[in-house]
């Protein structure tokens, strides 16, 4: 379990590269995990060919949620909206390179939920978003 706090997770949570706001942006969505108070907002800029050109996240939470958000933003730049829609929870876990219990999984997946709810233009996120399209 000590492996949970791999170097990359500590580093990305303490020195995130993609943390901030994009103003203006094309897509934005904020989500929270009321159980632990974590909040993540995702801002995206999209070009006319539906490619993500810029991505940023903001908010607060535990190291897992913050590192997960930072790695997720990095992984989607240059991707097509259709590819974002196909992302699943396994992609998030692959980014992090760890296995998680049910409670911490919610922390790790909050950024993906926010991202996909934004891309789908939903008013509210849901757990179905963690599967593929």
């Amino acid at each position: 379990m000590d492996d949970l706090y791999r170097e990359v997770i500590i580093d990305r949570s303490q020195n995130p590269i993609f943390k901030g706001k994009l103003d203006p942006c094309d897509i934005t969505f904020e989500d929270e995990n009321p159980l632990c108070g974590d909040v993540i907002r995702v801002d995206l800029r999209v070009d006319i060919n539906n490619h993500i050109t810029e991505a940023a996240f903001d908010g607060h939470g535990c190291a897992i949620s913050q590192a997960s958000a930072d790695l997720l933003m990095e992984s989607i730049i240059g991707k097509k909206i259709e590819e974002i829609k196909a992302l699943t929870k396994q992609d998030v876990l692959d980014n992090l390179g760890i296995e998680l219990g049910a409670v911490r999984l919610k922390c790790a997946l909050l950024p993906l939920k926010a991202l996909k709810a934004g891309v789908y233009g939903l008013s509210k996120s849901n757990d179905d978003l963690l599967e593929g399209e």
């Binding site: 379990m1 000590d2 949970l4 500590i10 303490q14 632990c36 108070g37 939470g61 535990c62 911490r104």
Partner: protein, 410 residues
């Protein structure tokens, strides 16, 4: 019991012998959420199922009479434990939350009208907030709150001012599940009664840890849960003064709470059965009785003394951890609860790393979001202690926290 020795007590709790990670014995520091259960409690429920399982109050065969006798004996033990005058002042519910909801539903809907004031405090558990919020939405009653000071104490000056508005009810926690603050229940009750208000105490945290006597405190209602005092989950208690309970309409309808039923009407049963609709958690009530026997054997005064020593030790040791800040009052004004923030590390991460050392603490808002807002915190890590905890375990916690700092390089 001559001397109080947690090392001896630990032997009564099977779960404290297990390792949650190889080589790491369980260090259980989450008794505020739920306590562990001694063998005598487990055995009492097992015995019931093995040798006297039957529904209560109606059967006229021997095991049904035995089951009824055991169930009602637990009521008597509970009544004595909190100083009720009569057994029928003790209502068994599902948990402390349901006890408070019972009062809000039955007493509140009958006795409160639009504009009436209910005084709560800023340190309440959601269980003593949300039922009143729901009632406020339905009956247009007003809610006011006794503020909590930076030290984690109730601001009684503001309380005095609020009392001038002639509240109908004052409902407050006897011990905060986050700050550990022990509130001056007698004083708050006396002042409320002088102002003409009825008083409800949320005793979920105090009854397991302190001597609580309703004749001394004088409050009208007391709510608490079995599972936080060595008993099983699924049983709560509502103490209510007989004359008040008598005047209240039933809460839930069904079997056992009736005297007579016709197709279009019913006559409610007498106390306490009027408020116990349907088959109750019989085994668990019997388990609560065994838990009370266990606590009585140790002695509540002695338990309180042990916990005072433990929180003293814990607060001293925690003060040595750089970047750690405990919220709540000094040791002499609180129970054995320490909620804290650790600079640069989210409480979830603190709890996760402590778990790798076998240490069980809680991270989050502990069902007290408004209190966390009051202290400008999203969440805290909480370590809480009980009869089976030792100073060595507190020292393990501190070592674990130093490891957390190392992992996070803070």
């Amino acid at each position: 019991m001559t001397t109080f020795n947690p090392e001896v007590i630990r032997k009564d709790f099977p779960i404290l012998q297990i390792e949650t990670h190889p080589g790491k014995e369980l260090v259980y520091l989450d008794s505020t959420a739920t306590t562990q259960k001694p063998v005598s409690v487990l055995k009492s429920m097992d015995d019931y199922y093995r040798s006297s399982n039957a529904n209560i109050h109606r059967g006229i065969y021997s095991i049904a009479e035995e089951a009824t006798a055991k169930y009602e004996a637990a009521r008597e033990k509970t009544a004595r434990f909190v100083g009720a005058k009569k057994n029928r002042e003790i209502i068994f519910t599902r948990n402390a939350t349901e006890s408070i909801n019972l009062v809000a539903y039955s007493w509140g809907r009958t006795n409160l009208s639009p504009g009436d004031l209910v005084i709560l405090t800023e340190m309440e558990h959601h269980a003593n907030l949300v039922p009143w919020q729901m009632l406020a939405a339905e009956k247009e009653i007003r809610l006011e709150f006794i503020p909590v000071s930076d030290e984690g104490l109730l601001d009684l000056e503001t309380y005095h001012e609020l009392l001038k508005q002639e509240p109908k009810l004052v409902a407050f926690s006897h011990m905060s599940n986050v700050l550990g603050t022990i509130t001056p229940a007698e004083e708050i009750t006396r002042l409320a009664h002088n102002a003409g208000a009825v008083v409800l105490i949320d005793g979920a945290q105090s009854v397991p840890h302190l001597p609580v006597n309703m004749q001394d405190i004088g409050a009208d209602f007391l709510a608490f849960s079995a599972h936080k005092m060595c008993g099983p989950t699924g049983v709560g208690v509502l103490f209510g003064k007989e004359e008040i309970l008598d005047a209240m309409p039933p809460f839930q309808g069904g079997g056992d709470m009736i005297k007579k039923v016709h197709l279009r009407s019913f006559v409610p049963n007498d106390l306490p059965y009027k408020f116990e609709a349907g088959t109750p958690a019989i085994a668990e009530v019997i388990g609560l009785g065994a838990a009370i026997d266990y606590l009585n054997e140790l002695g509540m005064e002695v338990i309180r003394r042990h916990e005072k020593e433990m929180i003293n030790h814990a607060l001293k040791k925690l003060a040595d951890v750089p970047g750690l800040k405990v919220i709540g009052p000094q040791a002499d004004q609180k129970g054995a609860v320490a909620s804290f923030s650790l600079q640069g590390v989210h409480p979830h991460d603190v709890a996760q790393i402590l778990d790798t050392e076998g240490i069980a603490v809680r991270a989050g808002h502990h069902c007290a979001m408004p209190l966390h807002e009051r202290f400008h915190l999203d969440a805290t890590t909480r370590a809480s202690l009980y009869i089976y905890n030792t100073t060595e375990e507190v020292d393990k916690l501190v070592e674990g926290l130093l490891k957390v700092r190392k992992v996070f390089r803070v």
